[in-house]
């Protein structure tokens, strides 16, 4: 039994990376994940990753923020301490709009950003789970779970044929832990 845990196909060019994904999929080799220094459009569709639902989260948080401040202002100015300003209506909706808008935006932004951090496991101090340190610089890396995916030589050949500049057989999953 080989001690290889993950096979990494390291590419110099995003187009070759896409080619590599196609070839692996044609040969029914499951891909664990792909690490790139920049967003590559179309890769999520290839890997069958569904569209992000963060937009819905943003919408819901925005609704919460807007309703919350509108309700609060209603309570302050209409219910708790109505002020007679020249006999004008206490419930002066146009005056409520600026703050309602601001909190809609504030809640939508922060709610969505924190949902993103939460769902992607991003927070200050999290140990980076990096398989190849160059994947944040100039290399495009396809990671393949070696367990069950045998023979490894075939995978290496597929990656090389697709244009990988380097194929690594890693004994450890992540290189970033000291």
């Amino acid at each position: 039994m080989s001690s290889t845990k993950y096979i990494l196909g390291v590419f110099d060019d995003p187009d070759e990376l896409m080619h590599g994904i196609d070839k692996l999929q044609k040969n029914s080799v499951p891909i664990y994940d792909v690490y790139t220094p920049m967003p590559i459009h179309g890769i999520d569709a290839k890997l069958g990753i569904k569209d992000s639902r963060l937009g819905y989260a943003a919408f819901m948080f925005g609704c919460v923020g807007g309703s919350l401040i509108f309700g609060l202002v209603y309570y302050f100015l209409v219910h708790d301490w109505p002020m007679d300003i020249g006999g004008k209506n206490y419930f002066a909706i146009p005056d409520f709009i600026p703050v309602t808008f601001e909190w809609t935006v504030l809640f939508a932004s922060y709610g969505m950003a924190f949902t993103f951090f939460f769902s992607t496991h991003l927070f200050p101090g999290r140990a980076p789970r990096v398989m190849d340190l160059r994947a944040t610089n100039d290399k495009f890396v396809i990671a393949i779970d070696a367990k069950g995916n045998i023979p490894h030589e075939d995978i290496t050949n597929i990656l090389k044929e697709a244009g990988a500049s380097e194929v690594k057989h890693n004994d450890r999953k992540y290189v970033s832990y000291e």
């Binding site: 110099d12 993103f116 610089n137």
Partner: protein
């Protein structure tokens, strides 16, 4: 797909030969990974002296109260609110570049958005310090928040634009911060993975454990797009609300419905001028000529020209409406701008903002770096005077001649203002030292489609309309970072 060839008639966004993904990282991170040069230290020393002046002046103000400023019963707002509006306006360009230009798919924003957003954050910090300071007793700032208190509770008045402003500025700062920092995560991860030892630990914490996996990027892009979508109306709302601080009053010169669009245009105008001021120096000192090219400079100058002209039209409209309103106080206020004792301030305002920027109709001016830089400073001066004219000139002679007065700044007024510029530059210089000043991931994104080398390859391959190629080559002449001899033969 990751790349497709872009039309040849578009100017390149990245110049230089043999630019690779690794080269972009190396170029952008050079100031972060190495000790700063002499220029940085000189700049930082001067800026920190300015920041020190700010600390002294603001402490003096807090200790003795705003009586230390030159305010009087008639002119109750002067350099404080002038400085506040000036800084908030400057901040607007960062959001405009990062959000509005993203929605419009303007790829040239990719290399300037990071530093412009940083500028937004620092400018809003400067603006916020004015708000705190002008309250006189800054700890009373807590009463601008609707918190339960022992008076009833006596809530804040949500009918007042000043309270809207508290919400607008704080939201604007918070949203800009999250937008900026989310965008920084992948680039901080790049620094982390190249660093060792303590640096690596620090950047590791700052990077939130970013990996660059497919899902991370997919969500990142969704977040960026939605943040851009909500920031766009937000940035418009912020200066609209700032303008309502004035427009909802009954003060002649302030009480006009044109203020919101006029202020927003002015904000974008002054913000782009400040971006230009900073980036023309930054690109030279940090050697980023290949990423912040002449195309970027000219595009920003075009925006300055457009917004400057919008502001000019607003000035004319203001005058016409003052005349057309038939209100004698309104008419006098505008006449007083020219024949009153502050005529010189009005001359600075109209001269710097409208007359000088009209020079940018000429392509020679737009693509000349020293002239662009000087013009950007002139715009910043002009926009400061615009706020001064609106605030002080309107206030000093409004209704009752017996209460007419002049405003004379004290050294504390001047110190807080000059100091805030020092504070701003101190923060900016620290930023370019510790964080990547160009969004590397976003620049890498356009390397294969919009770079000079990609376009050169297309030309060398042939199959292009020769007229288009000639058009492209003619456009390259203005670029200072392109080897023109390469194009003589092709």
């Amino acid at each position: 797909m990751a790349s497709h060839s872009e039309s040849i008639i578009r100017e390149p966004l990245i110049t230089g030969k043999n630019i690779t993904y690794g080269q972009i990282t190396d170029d952008v991170l050079r100031p972060v990974e190495n000790m700063p040069g002499k220029a940085w230290w000189i700049g930082f020393s001067v800026a920190s002296l300015g920041a020190l002046l700010w600390v002294v002046s603001i402490s003096y103000t807090f200790w003795f109260g705003i009586g230390a400023w030159g305010l009087n019963k008639t002119v109750g707002w002067a350099w404080d609110i002038t400085g506040f509006v000036w800084w908030v306006g400057i901040g607007h360009a960062g959001t405009l570049i990062s959000a509005v230009l993203l929605l419009f798919r303007q790829n040239w924003r990719n290399s300037i958005n990071r530093s412009a957003e940083a500028m937004t954050i620092f400018a809003v910090i400067c603006a916020a310090t004015y708000i705190g300071a002008h309250m006189g007793r800054p700890w009373m700032a807590v009463y601008s928040l609707p918190l339960p208190n022992q008076y009833g509770s006596l809530w804040v008045n949500f009918n007042s634009p000043l309270i809207w402003d508290v919400f607008a500025i704080s939201t604007y700062f918070s949203v800009s911060l999250v937008f900026w920092y989310t965008g920084l995560l992948p680039d901080i991860a790049t620094i982390r993975d190249r660093a060792t030892g303590l640096r690596r630990r620090i950047y590791s914490v700052l990077s939130f454990g970013w990996t660059g996996s497919v899902k991370t990027w997919q969500r990142f892009e969704t977040v960026s797009l939605i943040l851009a979508g909500v920031s766009t109306p937000l940035v418009l709302s912020v200066h609209t609300i700032v303008s309502m601080d004035f427009a909802t009053s009954l003060e002649p010169g302030w009480h006009t419905t044109i203020f919101p669009p006029y202020f927003v245009a002015g904000a974008i105008f002054s913000g782009f001028a400040m971006v230009q001021t900073l980036l023309l120096v930054t690109r030279k000192v940090l050697g980023l000529e290949n990423y912040i090219t002449m195309f970027h400079i000219e595009s920003m100058n075009k925006i300055i020209l457009v917004t400057g002209s919008v502001v000019g039209v607003a000035y004319i409209t203001e005058f016409f409406i003052a005349y057309y309103s038939g209100g004698e106080y309104e008419q006098y206020t505008f006449l007083n701008r020219f024949i009153g004792p502050y005529w010189w301030a009005a001359c600075m305002m109209y001269g710097c903002n409208v007359l000088m920027t009209q020079m940018m109709w000429s392509k020679k001016v737009r693509t000349n770096i020293p002239i662009s830089w000087v013009l950007s400073i002139i715009v910043n001066i002009g926009m400061w005077f615009e706020r001064f004219v609106i605030i002080v000139t309107s206030l000093h002679r409004d209704y009752i001649p017996s209460s007419w007065a002049m405003f004379y700044p004290t050294w504390v007024d001047v110190g807080v203002f000059i100091g805030s510029i020092g504070l701003f530059f101190t923060m900016f210089l620290l930023f370019i030292r510790v964080l990547p000043s160009v969004a590397m991931a976003e620049v890498k994104l356009i390397l294969k489609s919009a770079s000079e080398q990609a376009k050169k390859k297309l030309i060398d391959d042939g199959h292009l309309d020769p007229a288009h190629v000639d058009f492209y080559k003619d456009n390259l002449i203005k670029f200072d970072s392109v080897e023109h001899s390469d194009y003589e033969k092709v």
